[in-house]
């Protein structure tokens, strides 16, 4: 029989591994680097799995919990900051437990590359007392997710599964395995002693959880994804996650390595066996010193003389992601006789252009920001932004994002700012998907507490930053079904917002007029700027600069910062491969030198 291999992205491997393990419910909210897991399940779904983009992570966690209460295997996916949103159900669910296997994937992002924080889901595992699985590669993730389901079911507890960006977005050849045999869900069996959380139940379960975690520590010491690679010498390396791959890449000779696949409960017996006979251990891990602290506890508990080095002793980097280079440098200091430091190649180089991410050419957000900026010129205003492509409105020349904190915070931060400085007009910019995820409560808060803000909804009909997922306002679900579009204007009306203006941001005059209409009013005013993301629509036209009319004033470059407009040999040009025909530049050109490309051009 031939062995089937596929090149899979880590997220695809997690998805296929979950399907193989009989998952029946998959729910999540998009967030880099976790998004492709659910997308893959939706794509590979044979119809037996309910897949949904939930409105936010808390909703996903609870939907997943319900399915697991009914005995089905459920998968919940999010990025690490999404776990903060879902932490309320998570903490209680840890006490109540589940019946069907439930795996919560929370993808961490060392660096951070596309995130607000460098928080570590392994600590959430310790905090919630839940087991944590930490895959080191896509192929390991493919098998490990099935094992995580099995442990979850066996111990009637949800488990956390924590890949990092380089595992999620790394690709590898993965050997496909046959499907696992999973019993049909039994259905929900009523039992208030089990499913209704009460202080007394929590107390009893707390004791059980502590005992279970002692047992799991022993079980995990024999779990093959925690392992010791025995080597020579009295120095060893402890590692986990993708850092294990970096260590293996650098190490050419025999050095003892402890690889930790379940950082919580920590495989204490295995670690003890590893530590015995070693004088020094260097811990290579990303984010928090979780393995390092666990080893220090074991050293203390068993009165060992082993010295533990790592982040706490500043022998490894304390922030940012690891790399083969950083690990090589760390190991070269630790075991210079076995690892050679890379030749310090002080190569001559040139000044290179800096490329901060920018709003795409043709992005309607650029036009929305520009309209507000124009209408508010010379007036005291603060612009609060949120999470999404439109955070990029902070870049010059737009400079239209004064604050950004977390999902939904633009609406409420604006309120706090306004209460302290009432002579400021406080704008709050929120995307359509973010509005549904966590913006609505903020608007209710403003209306109820009668705070003056201007809410600008940037409705581009998709969840753009994470790769164009549908949401409640799009009228499509992840199962491909058509759903009733939930209208943002109707929600706002229902909340009691009286002042709602809609405008097409790509019509500058109309957009500026919309801002002017509401800027001096009181209470909660809303402008809904509606224009689809360029990725979900097609360009109708393109623009070009009529050279004879162009005075090279560069207003187009200095005011809107469109990546399609460049200067070549002193001439201002519009790059054809980028122009999306939004026409914003043609509306601001003082010399009317920018026109549509005609058919024969």
């Amino acid at each position: 029989m031939s062995v089937e291999k596929k090149i899979l992205m880590g997220n695809e491997a997690i998805a296929l591994g979950a399907i193989r393990a009989g998952v029946r419910m998959a729910a999540g909210y998009p967030g880099t680097p976790s998004t492709e897991i659910l997308e893959t399940i939706a794509k590979e779904n044979d119809g037996s799995i309910h897949v949904e983009w939930s409105v936010n992570e808390k909703a996903a966690m609870e939907v997943g919990a319900g399915a697991a209460y009914a005995g089905a295997r459920s998968l919940v996916t999010m990025k690490q900051v999404g776990l903060n949103v879902a932490s309320d159900p998570l903490m209680s669910l840890a006490y109540v437990g589940v019946k069907g296997g439930m795996v919560i994937v929370s993808a961490d992002d060392p660096g951070p590359i596309s995130s607000q924080t460098e928080q570590d889901t392994r600590l959430f595992g310790q905090f919630s007392k839940l087991p944590v699985f930490d895959p080191s590669s896509p192929e390991e993730a493919y098998e490990m997710i099935g094992e995580a389901f099995a442990y979850s079911e066996k111990y009637s507890t949800p488990v956390l599964f924590r890949p990092t960006t380089r595992v999620c977005h790394g690709r590898a050849s993965v050997t496909m395995l046959p499907d696992l045999e999973i019993a049909e869900p039994e259905g929900f069996i009523k039992d208030t002693q089990r499913w209704v959380i009460f202080p007394r139940l929590s107390y009893q379960n707390h004791i059980k959880i502590e005992d279970r975690n002692v047992e799991l520590s022993n079980v995990f010491s024999a779990y093959p994804r925690n392992l010791i690679e025995k080597g020579d010498g009295r120095k060893g390396i402890a590692t986990g996650g993708v850092s294990y791959a970096y260590v293996k890449e650098v190490l050419q000779s025999d050095v003892s390595v402890l690889k930790v696949g379940t950082p919580h409960p920590f495989p204490e017996k295995l670690a003890l066996e590893f530590l015995k006979g070693l004088d020094e251990v260097l811990v290579i891990e990303e984010l928090e010193p979780v393995i390092e602290r666990a080893l220090l506890v074991i050293v203390g508990k068993y009165h060992l003389n082993t010295v533990i080095l790592g982040k706490l002793t500043r022998d490894t980097k304390i922030a940012g992601e690891n790399s083969v280079e950083s690990v090589r440098a760390d190991l070269a200091k630790f075991i210079p006789e076995k690892v050679e430091d890379a030749a310090n190649h002080s190569m001559e180089t040139l000044q290179l252009p800096i490329r901060p991410p920018v709003l795409c050419a043709g992005c309607p957000h650029r036009a929305s920001f520009y309209a507000v900026k124009k209408a508010m010129r010379g007036r005291k205003a603060v612009f609060s932004g949120d999470i999404g492509c439109y955070t990029l409105g902070n870049a010059k020349p737009l400079d239209m994002c004064d604050t950004c904190l977390c999902m939904g915070a633009d609406v409420t931060i604006a309120q706090g700012l306004h209460i302290i400085e009432p002579d400021t007009t406080n704008f709050s910019f929120i995307g359509d998907s973010t509005f549904f995820a966590s913006g609505i409560t903020g608007v209710v808060n403003a209306v109820y507490n009668q705070t003056d803000i201007v809410l600008v909804v940037l409705d581009n009909s998709t969840t753009a930053m994470t790769g164009h997922q549908p949401h409640p306002g799009t009228g499509m679900t992840m199962m491909g079904d058509v759903a009733a579009k939930i209208r943002i204007d109707k929600i706002l009306e229902g909340i009691g917002v009286a002042d709602i203006v809609k405008a097409n941001p790509l019509n500058l005059e109309e957009a500026v007029a919309a801002v002017e209409k509401v800027r001096d009013e009181k209470g909660v005013r809303v402008i809904i700027f509606q224009a689809p993301c360029i990725a979900v629509t097609k360009p109708k036209t393109q623009y070009r600069i009529q050279e004879e009319k162009c005075t090279k004033c560069q207003v187009c470059i200095k005011q809107i910062g469109c990546p399609a407009i460049t200067i070549n040999d002193g001439r201002v040009e519009i790059e054809k491969s980028l122009c999306f025909g939004c026409g914003l530049c043609s509306q601001i050109c003082p010399g009317k030198a920018i026109g549509e490309v005609t058919d024969h051009e």
Partner: protein
């Protein structure tokens, strides 16, 4: 084309978000796997896709662990943009090959701050540092093919024609047929062939 397949190969693709590096790296990975090799790869996904610097790593062969190519270990760099080629030079091994598209993609900030560059200085620098340098005028090929989206395929054509990759033309075209959109295959095939012929 050399019949003696090298054991391990590291191929780095770099450019600016939106240029099509991800598809090109997927095609290389697929072709290598079809040729019976194990593959490990990594891509930039997320915020940097919006006009930032993007890098894809593809590693083929056995005993590979890291999804990222270590410094000075890349056999080939396929650069969609000259400044990005210079940025990634620390990855190139001694005697490695660089295939570069000569046209600069200027960041919006360059026009704003006046820190403009033309791309030529990057090409000159590459010429002074890289022994096996292959320069492609991707713009001309895209014009000839009639689509700005075929730059990635033209660069793959140039890289394979150079013999620096352990992948044959047939293997790559097969990968393209199985992984690309069918309606674009003819366009892509033309870009692939032109890329192989039109290096400067």
């Amino acid at each position: 084309m050399n019949n003696q397949k090298r054991e391990n190969q590291n191929i780095l693709l770099c450019g600016v978000g939106g240029q099509g590096t991800i598809l090109a790296s997927k095609l290389i990975a697929y072709a290598a796997m079809e040729a019976g090799k194990d593959v490990r790869a990594s891509e930039t996904i997320g915020m940097s896709q919006r006009g930032g610097s993007v890098v894809s790593h593809v590693r083929t062969g056995t005993d590979i662990y890291s999804p990222l190519i270590p410094y000075q270990k890349a056999d080939v760099i396929i650069a969609f943009e000259p400044a990005e080629a210079v940025r990634c030079l620390p990855y190139l091994k001694q005697g490695g090959t660089v295939v570069v598209n000569q046209k600069a993609v200027k960041p919006t900030t360059a026009a704003l701050t006046g820190q403009d560059y033309e791309g030529k200085e990057m090409i000159h620098f590459l010429q002074s540092q890289v022994t096996n340098l292959i320069i492609l005028d991707g713009e001309v090929i895209c014009k000839e093919v009639g689509s700005p989206k075929v730059l990635n395929i033209a660069l793959l054509g140039a890289a394979i024609a150079s013999g620096a990759l352990d992948i044959t033309e047939e293997e790559m075209l097969d990968a393209l047929k199985k992984n690309g959109k069918e309606k674009f295959f003819a366009l892509n095939q033309k870009a692939f062939e032109l890329g192989g012929r039109r290096t400067l």
